[in-house]
């Protein structure tokens, strides 16, 4: 079945072509891996990522600033009103009156009355003085917390806590406990500071307070996500956002606050329509290394030379020798035709195998030389699988070329069919690339996906290999099937045909 001298003869005859193609392919692979792995080949993508990241961060800052500003401003307003009301009430009731009222309440409780009964009783008792149940509630509530102390500080502190609690209750419905707790502390702090404030208006104070607070807190939070922003950057953004928000509130005082905030804090990104946003997201998520090394190299650029090698060598192995007549010398020795074709087939497959084995070694060395980098997205096992895939693809293509070579007696015909089909497959896979689903929608031409259905190179699913799915396995099986069928038919045809030697 196998003839060593013929194998040796084929090796010698095609060695130069083989070594040139192997060297060039390995060299190209190393260059592609190193260049794409090292350089900022993706700087446009990087700057896009940066722009959208800024955009997203600032949108978040805006939203926080406006929300907190609004809460703070409202709380301060509530506090101001409550303080004015309370002061007015105490002025009316007077301090001695307050003491009488509270003592009466205490007595009623001691007598065994419930809180509610006691309050009703008091309201009835002093209704002549214009003291309604509401006023009683305000006084008694204060009394239960602060006792007889009616100093300004105490009152302020009391009201401050009431306002903060109100904020807390409001927020715990809308958000989670953590946010509500945080808001309460912020409010308490804000009001106590506001208490000492003399110069700024309520709005200005709230704006400044929130700006400074965000400037202090957000840089640390963002740093945890690996984003670097300075306090002044955040402050500038927050201040502008609050200014805009206040301006809008002046123009439309009745605006729905939540909607207004969402509106103003909408990022540039989110202003785009859905499909454009998706396209931009795809570009951000694009794995340049995987695309160039895994697909453009292994399925196109890197296959070009091996395909040219296969076309010429497959033709030289059979049809070329029949056409020139040199096959007569082999066949005038007691070498069977089956032995001849089987040996030539072994040569073709072995030479391609060694070629991709060397390419694997080159790939692994190049990856190892690059070390761990964020740009390098192909692991060593994936590199081996990609080479295996390229080899299996070449098995199928070489099968077709070999069949053409075994089928025809003329080099011209063998080259036309074998070479023509192989080149057609290569060109269509390149055209099909522009319509492939892994190409970002922004630069994809969907109708060109048609080309992916007419080339067998599509069955080399490099994307599946790099994504770690197993879809590539059954496609490999088809490629292997094609090559086995082609080689078997070649043997049968060559055994039976007339040779013009």
């Amino acid at each position: 079945m196998f003839s060593k001298p013929l194998f040796k003869q084929s090796c010698k005859a095609n060695f130069l072509t083989w070594i040139l193609v192997t060297f060039a392919t390995c060299f190209m692979l190393a260059v592609v891996i190193v260049v794409i792995g090292l350089s900022g080949a993706s700087y446009i993508k990087d700057s896009m990522v940066e722009v959208f990241q800024d955009d997203a961060v600032y949108a978040e800052v805006d939203k926080n600033a406006m929300t907190y500003y609004y809460i703070t401003e409202t709380s301060l307003k509530t506090y101001d009103q409550a303080k004015a009301n309370f002061d007015l009430l105490i002025d009316t009731v007077t301090e001695p009156g307050y003491k009488i009222l509270t003592n009466s309440y205490q007595k009623l409780i001691d007598e065994g009355k419930t809180d509610d009964e006691a309050r009703n009783n008091l309201a009835d008792q002093y209704s002549i003085l214009g003291l309604t149940r509401e006023y009683v509630d305000v006084i008694i509530d204060y009394y239960l917390v602060c006792g007889d102390d009616l100093s300004d500080e105490k009152v302020s502190e009391y009201l401050m806590n009431r306002v903060s609690d109100g904020v807390y209750e409001e927020l715990i419905e809308k958000y989670d406990k953590e946010t509500a707790d945080f808001a309460r502390t912020v409010m308490t702090d804000a009001i106590s500071k506001y208490f000492e404030e003399t110069e700024l208006s309520r709005e200005e104070f709230a704006s400044e307070y929130i700006t400074v607070m965000l400037g202090k807190q957000l840089p640390d939070v963002l740093a945890q996500e690996g984003l670097e922003y300075t306090a002044s950057e955040i402050e500038d953004e927050a201040r502008t956002a609050i200014k805009d928000f206040r301006g809008r509130l002046l123009i439309e005082p009745d605006a729905e606050i939540d909607k207004l905030i969402d509106d103003l804090s909408l990022s540039i990104f989110n202003k785009f329509p859905e499909d454009v946003r998706k396209a931009l997201e795809e570009i951000q998520d694009l794995d340049i290394f995987g695309l160039i090394v895994g697909t453009v190299f292994f399925k196109m650029a890197g296959l070009l030379l091996p395909i040219v090698y296969t076309i010429t060598v497959a033709n030289n192995l059979i049809a070329g020798q029949v056409d020139s007549g040199s096959m007569a010398y082999v066949l005038s020795t007691p070498t069977k035709r089956t032995t001849v074709i089987f040996t030539q087939m072994c040569y073709l497959i072995t030479s391609l195998f060694v070629m991709f084995a060397l390419s694997s070694v080159t790939g692994i060395i190049s990856l190892a030389a690059l070390g761990a980098r964020s740009a390098v997205t192909i692991s060593i096992p994936e590199m081996l699988l990609l080479n295996a895939g390229a080899f299996i693809t070449m098995c199928a293509i070489s099968g077709i070329c070999f069949l053409a070579s075994a089928w025809f007696n003329r080099s011209k015909q063998s080259m036309t069919w074998g070479g023509g089909l192989s080149m057609f497959f290569l060109v269509t896979v390149i055209l099909g690339l522009f319509g492939s689903s892994f190409i970002p929608a922004a630069i994809r031409i969907d109708s060109m996906n048609f080309f992916n259905y007419v080339t067998i190179i599509s069955l080399f699913d490099s994307v599946s290999i790099m994504n770690g799915t197993l879809a590539y396995l059954w496609k490999f099986a088809i490629l292997l099937g094609v090559s086995i069928v082609c080689y078997i038919v070649s043997v049968i045809r060559f055994k039976k045909k007339d040779l013009p030697l």
Binding site: K8, K12, A13, L499, P500
Partner: protein, 306 residues
Amino acid sequence: MKNIIEFSGVTKDYRHGRGIFDISLSVSEGEMFGFVGTNGAGKTTTIRHIMGFLKQDSGTVTVKGMDAWNQASSIKKFIGYVPGEIAFPDLASGTEFLKSQAELSGLKDMSRANRLIERLQLDPSANLRRMSKGMKQKTALVAALMADPEIIILDEPTTGLDPLMRVAFMDIVREEHMRGKTVFMSSHMFEELQTTCDKVALIDNGKINEIVDMNIITQRPDVQFKIEFNKKSDYRAFLNSGYTIIRDQPQYSQVTITLPKKETQKLFFSLSDYDVKFISEIPYTLEKYFKEKLINERIKEQKYVQ
């Protein structure tokens, strides 16, 4: 004598009148068989059947009793082949080619190859692609003969060689024949076959026209002479002396006569009485034989048509 190569009723129809039709011939052991015909007559097609390169549409081809198609590889153990078109495999030098051929045929002893190389004054280390036609032919002959095969098949081996080379080449082939090898050789030159072959077949338009034993040609009972006389009177006298005249050219005083071989002596004796300018024997050639044969046939065909 055992038949080494045998064709019986072999037809390979390439259509449009091309191919070979109902070829039957046999070559016995130790015989040198010539195969002559014009270009495209079917010589190479016939040889390709012996080599098992082509499969006949009908009939059988056997070599040493084995089927030439089904047992092609076994037959090759006995065959040395020099193809008509010399194109070598893609190897660097003649030496490399010969070595590769030896390996393919399982030959280990290269002494015979070396003797042949010396004999042919061949430089086998030369680049295969830059060899002249003669060198290529010599290299191919060494490759065919180095395993000392029983059967030697040559497809127009001397075409394109200069006359000296042709002689040297044919000398070696003839030597092999003397050593008892069976030789099957095609050519489009009658003289070449006439001097070397035991039997010659004429193929025309894919059909065997005639197979001639060379003895018939070389050992004919009759001889022909052309005689020219100095004097017209002598010429006229000779015309009436009773010899069979086959051509008469009175303007030159020339006659061509035919007579049984054994009467040659008598002719020379009687010519001593005449003033003879020159006398020459017209040799009977294979070419002449086939020409006569073809002319007769054409005449017969015409009669048949009429």
